[in-house]
Structures are given as structure tokens and as C-alpha cells.
Symmetry: C2
Subunit: 403 residues, 2 copies
């Protein structure tokens, strides 16, 4: 048994923020019905990289879900949607605010059908406030939310965080809200609406940059590869790539000086305390960097780890696929995907002791578009002939478009 | 009532990953007892920025919690810790793996006292695997987890993400695991251990970079301010700063050409489809950029928003403090902190409809070190004289150190 075994989620979402949210719920054992528009499905089914014409990107965020096609622009589709809502614990959507209401499927309408429904809306700017109707994408909220202005090299241009944290962090807060609402429902019998904005979520992860401005008026700037308050704590170039080394106290600083052949610096009055090292950060960097070219990153990793100095390589993505810790933690798991074959995707980072470990060693495939429409309709009490009519109208066209 | 009203959390954590996890639980209404070492408390009480000698940084991550001092190196302290565990729903710790066990306070020992206990461990590399005993910091897992290798300008050095996503994302997965375990406990009566690693959490947010390598063998690289697959979708310099503009389809592309005076590009065969635009991205950027210097970011925001083109400024941190959407969503809330006065901190990004909105308009202050030791001891059945003995031994020294 997993934490959310027996919980049904309707995943009426597209691309990343919403699908990531429902993937987290699927990882916890929820049954996730991806409700997709007929013919095309989730937009990300058409995003690269493709393998044999199938989107590996879609697979990576939608593994372990089921797929139901439902055209919510038709009355027939709306009726099907509402019948699913009656039997659903959590609905996740990431449309623009107001779009669900225009279809008659907003929270206020759906809670009349199912007062126990938990309705999670993940949107760019949230369901209130002056920017609410505006469209947003990951890069736009990364820009507006401030993280881009503090990421980059000192004096250089701002840069985007290389992964879509604008989407993903919002999906994570949405999933957290969903399970909190589920727990509250156990005690009150009531569902509720969880409204998560991508912009809000960016504010929530800024930590010291907000505090610094609030307390001192100083506007944080990009720091490249240096730490804002601990020295030395930065990246050095080695013979073959890079290494991060961190000496957060005088004892570790002395060890770092010893292993790099900089013993004279230990008692140097410029470097004898962390505040002094912060003051003379550039000189100190130069002394240490000068010695770092002598060995490869792997050699330095051994030397520093043996000396107890916190350190780590800057891994490129390929390195993760052969890292023994990543393997031991099952953080890259295999999916056997029809049409694609075996492909590795990121595993579940939340390791729960009551979840049987063998359930986390691989992941279930992503669904073919509409693969579960029939079973879901039958389970809701549609008759065989109603199901056939519906499938003739929509589902067969899914296949036609694909063929 | 909030989602976690009535739930007690012991927050035996330091600095960021663990405290962020328990702050999320506090935001949902849990009573969080910060269990701190006497005299010094959480290390971050000594981190800047300071206001009147108090750490604003500590305040920002520990607002709304209580503080209990407990020296777990003494038998007396261990006994107090265990008595708290008996009355606790969720324990969060972020010590190095093995440290709790060496004190006799590991999960296996604590579940004997309280089988309903949910034990959340947030650590650098997790409680299993070959790197488990190694120390880690945010920058080290950002480096090892791959995000640094895909963040930065094309061809330039890797850079650290400007906020501590190595810590924060792990804290978020920890909080998600905690509430899932709470929900599972409602149905099974059993607590469990939730083991979250900072490195694992980095893998979990890499999305397309992992898929791209798994599917094609291509190692993702930093892309600066461009989007990996949509063109045009990037940052342009304006008369006074920057703007992000995104034209994800031909219709939006035509509008962007119109507002920038580039009508001739609309039917240019180099730019007539998104794949073509991706192929000729540098030429297209140059054409659009050349026109962008004509107006300020604010002027372009109005022009593009009116035209329906998704866009956003690259906000520096100060801009967030006057943004109308941030204000409307209560994402910067005021804390009235003794010793500091009024200070703004990030609000709760998870907006729950059953939580009274007025409870989210401000935040409670962070606790003085040991402020709640007495009340917690009395509530656990310690006698007045036992409490006095304990406070004389530890608490008064807290004050002495501070004075």
C-alpha cells in the first residue's frame, strides 16, 4: 500500500506545471486519470525529443497515469466530465483562470456535484489579482519572480535557471496543497479549492534575497559560483573540469590549505576568520585556484573527501547516469514504453518506509491517448452502447489522427 | 481551521532544508516546536543580515514556530526529547545520516516510544547508498545534481542558481512526504520514516535534460536566456532594462513582428514556422532586438500585453516589493518581530479556500531561543521544580550568552 492508494485524481492539465503536480500524486499511489482533448491530447505529446514518433518528454512527466479523452467543448463531453468529477477525490487543472468557469466547470459548479472534491488550480498568476488573466510561461515567471536577476556571473547578464523551476515548483506546491486538503477532508468531510500561482511560488523560494532587501535595502545580484557569506565556498577549475569545495569554518579552511599546498595562508591575518576571508575573497580564490590545476576533479574528490572537506564535482547530465549514489537511490528508473522501448526517467525522491521498495525500482509507462476511456465510462455506469457511440465519435478519430 | 491544525511537529533542524520543510507545515497550521541546542540555537540565528543584533535570515524561515532548548548530548536532554516525541505527530531532522542513531534517537528507537510518529529526515545524499555519510551543502548538490551544468550563458562557465534550490526543493519534498504519511496514518494507524535526499531532489527537477539524454544521448548545455524549443522566446534589452517575450505560435509571432515594426519577417521563409525560426534563431533575435531599444520595459509591457503577447520584465528583488500582483496575493507579509520591528517575509504560496484569508495577511514572529521550554515541559507532566532545575541548568545560560 502507498500513501494515496485508493485516491482518484483527474488530471486536466497540459505540458508541465499541472502534469508535474499529478505525477507527484501518482508517485504516492493515486490513480491518475489524464483527461485529454480528443485527437491531440496534452500539447506535450507533440514536444521533442521523440523516439519512434512518440514524445519521450510526455512520457517522462506522465508515466504511471491513465488517459481518458473528453471534449469539454461539447455537451456530451461536459456531461462525461461531470460524471467523472462525482467519483473523483482531486481535480488538477492548469488552464488560464476563468477558462473552467466559461465551460461551466469551475470550482463553484463542480462542488455542487461533489462537495468532497479537492480542486487544485495551478496558473501563472493565480485566480485573484490584477495579472490573473495574463498568460504565463516558465521563463516569464522566472523573470518576474526575481530568480533570474540573482542568477548568472557577477556583472554579467541575467540567465534562466536551466530547468523549468517556474513550472515545477508551482506543481510541487500544488501537490502539497492537494494532500493537505485531503487530510483536512478526513476531519471535516469537506473538499476545497487550492489556488497556486507560478509567480507566488517563485517568491516563496527566494529566501535570503527577500530578507536582505527587507532588512537592509540591498538588492541581491548574481554571484556566479561563489557563496554569499562563506569563504572559501566556490568552484575551482581542475586539470579536466571543475570542483566545488566548501570550508565553512577555520578547521576546514586549514585542511583545505594543507591539501592544496597553501599552508602559509592558515595564519595569514587576511584569512584567519570567515569575515576576514569574505573581505579578501578574490585574493584567496587566486591562491587556491593556482594549485587546483595540478589534479583532475576525480583526484581532488578523493583527496578532499579523505580530508573531510565538503566537495563535489559539477556533473554534466551524462554523469548522473553512471553515478553510484543515483543508482543506489533508484533516482533513474526504467520505463518499458510501448513504441519507445526502455527509457530512463527520474525516480521518486520521497522515500517512504512503508512503501515496498520494489515498487520504486521501475515506473509504469505513460498511457496512449484515450487508452482508458472505455473502462472509465463503464465504471461510471455508461452502457456498452453509449460507450460505443462515444468512442465512435471521438476515440476512433484519435487513432485516425495518429495513423 | 487550517489543514494541519492540531498537528504537532518537532523541528530538530538547522539552517535551511529542514527549517523550510517545517515552515511549510507551520503555514498549514501545524504547531511547530523548534528543538534547539542551548546557548546557540539554530546556526542560522547567527547568520546575516542582522537587524539590531537579531538575524533577519533566521526570522524569515522560522516565523510562526515555537522554541524549546534541549541538549541531546546529556541524558536529561535525551529524556526530555523522548517525552516530546511521545506527544509528537511529525519529527523533522536534517542532521548527517547516523547522527540521530549515535544519540540513541534514530527512527528505530523513536518508533518504539511512538509507533504513530512520522519521522522526516532531510539529508544531503539520503540514508542509504555509498555517499550517505558525506556532508553536503546547497551548492554541492546543485553541482552534483546537474542543474549547474545547464545554467549559464552558452559557452560560458556554469553558474549557481541564485537561490538555494538544493536545500529548498528537498525541504519541499520532505513536507510533501510528511503530509502523505499523515494521510496514510489516518488509514493504517502507523507512522513511518520519510527519507529525502538533496541530491535525489535535484534529479527530480531536471525534467527535459534527463529525457533528452536518455532518448538521444545529447548532453544539455546552458542556454542563457533562450528557450530550448520555442522561437522567439527570449529576453531582449530595452531602452532601460530587459523584457521577456514569448511567441509560441505563428499568430503570436505575427503580432510580435507587427508591434516591433518587423512586418516583413512574417512571410519570410526563414521564419514562417517554429521549426524554421528555431533554425534561424540568431538572425531572428538580431532583427527583433534591433527594434527593442526604442522603448522602455514598461512601455513594451503595455504594448505587448495589449497585443496579447505573453511577456514579462526581469524584475530585480526591489521591484517585487511594489508589484501589485505580489501585493494582491499577499506574497510579502509583515512580521512584527520583537527586537527587529516590522519586517516583510515571503507569504504562503498555497492558497486554500477553507483557510480564513485574514490568517494569511501577516505572519507570526520567530521565537526567542528557548521561549517555550517551560510551557512544553509543564504540558508533558514535568513538575514545577523539575522545570526550574532544568531552566536553571540550561535556559538561564541562553540568556547569559545573549546578554
Amino acid at each position: 500500500m502507498k500513501a494515496l492508494t485508493g485516491i482518484r485524481v483527474m488530471d486536466f492539465t497540459n505540458v508541465l506545471a499541472g502534469p508535474y503536480c499529478s505525477m507527484m500524486l501518482a508517485n504516492m499511489g493515486a490513480e491518475v486519470l489524464k483527461v485529454e482533448k480528443p485527437y491531440l491530447g496534452d500539447d506535450s505529446r507533440h514536444y521533442g525529443p521523440h523516439v519512434n514518433g512518440e514524445s519521450a518528454y510526455f512520457l517522462s512527466i506522465n508515466r504511471g497515469k491513465k488517459s481518458v479523452t473528453c471534449d469539454t467543448k461539447t455537451e456530451e463531453g461536459k456531461a462525461f466530465f461531470r460524471r467523472m468529477v462525482e467519483k473523483t477525490d482531486i481535480l488538477v487543472e492548469n488552464l488560464k483562470p476563468g477558462a473552467m468557469e466559461r465551460m461551466g466547470l469551475g470550482y463553484d459548479a463542480l462542488k455542487e456535484i461533489n462537495p468532497r472534491l479537492i480542486y487544485v488550480a495551478v496558473s501563472g498568476f493565480g485566480h485573484t489579482g490584477p495579472y490573473s488573466p495574463r498568460p504565463a510561461y516558465d521563463m516569464i515567471v522566472q523573470a518576474m519572480g526575481g530568480v533570474m536577476s540573482i542568477t548568472g556571473t557577477p556583472g554579467g547578464d541575467p540567465v534562466r535557471v536551466g530547468t523549468s523551476i517556474g513550472d515545477i515548483v508551482a506543481g510541487m506546491f500544488g501537490a502539497f496543497g492537494a494532500v493537505n486538503a485531503l487530510y483536512m477532508r478526513e476531519r471535516t468531510g469537506l473538499g476545497q479549492k487550492v489556488d497556486v500561482a507560478m509567480l507566488d511560488s517563485q517568491l516563496a523560494i527566494l529566501e535570503n534575497a527577500i530578507t536582505k532587501y527587507a532588512a537592509t535595502g540591498i538588492v541581491a545580484k548574481p554571484m556566479g559560483l561563489k557563496h554569499p557569506s562563506i569563504t572559501p565556498f566556490e568552484a575551482y577549475r581542475t586539470k579536466d573540469s571543475w570542483i566545488i569545495a566548501a570550508a565553512g569554518n577555520n578547521n576546514l579552511f586549514a585542511k583545505l590549505c594543507q591539501v592544496t599546498g597553501n599552508e602559509a595562508l592558515i595564519s595569514d591575518p587576511r584569512f584567519d576568520t570567515n569575515p576576514h576571508r569574505n573581505q579578501h575573497i578574490d585574493e584567496l580564490s587566486d591562491y587556491i585556484q593556482a594549485k587546483m590545476y595540478a589534479h583532475t576533479t576525480e583526484e581532488w574528490m578523493k583527496i578532499m573527501t579523505d580530508a573531510g572537506i565538503p566537495c563535489g564535482p559539477i556533473n554534466t547530465i551524462d554523469k548522473l547516469f553512471s553515478d553510484p549514489q543515483v543508482e543506489a537511490r533508484h533516482m533513474l528508473v526504467e520505463v518499458e514504453q510501448p513504441g519507445i522501448g526502455k527509457l530512463k526517467v527520474a525516480g521518486n525522491p520521497v522515500k517512504m518506509s512503508l512503501t515496498p521498495p520494489q515498487e520504486e525500482l521501475s515506473a509504469d509507462p505513460a498511457p496512449e491517448l484515450g487508452a482508458n476511456t472505455r473502462e472509465v465510462m463503464l465504471s461510471l455506469g455508461y452502457s456498452e452502447s453509449e460507450v460505443e457511440d462515444y468512442l465512435n465519435k471521438f476515440q476512433n478519430k484519435d487513432k485516425a489522427v495518429k495513423d
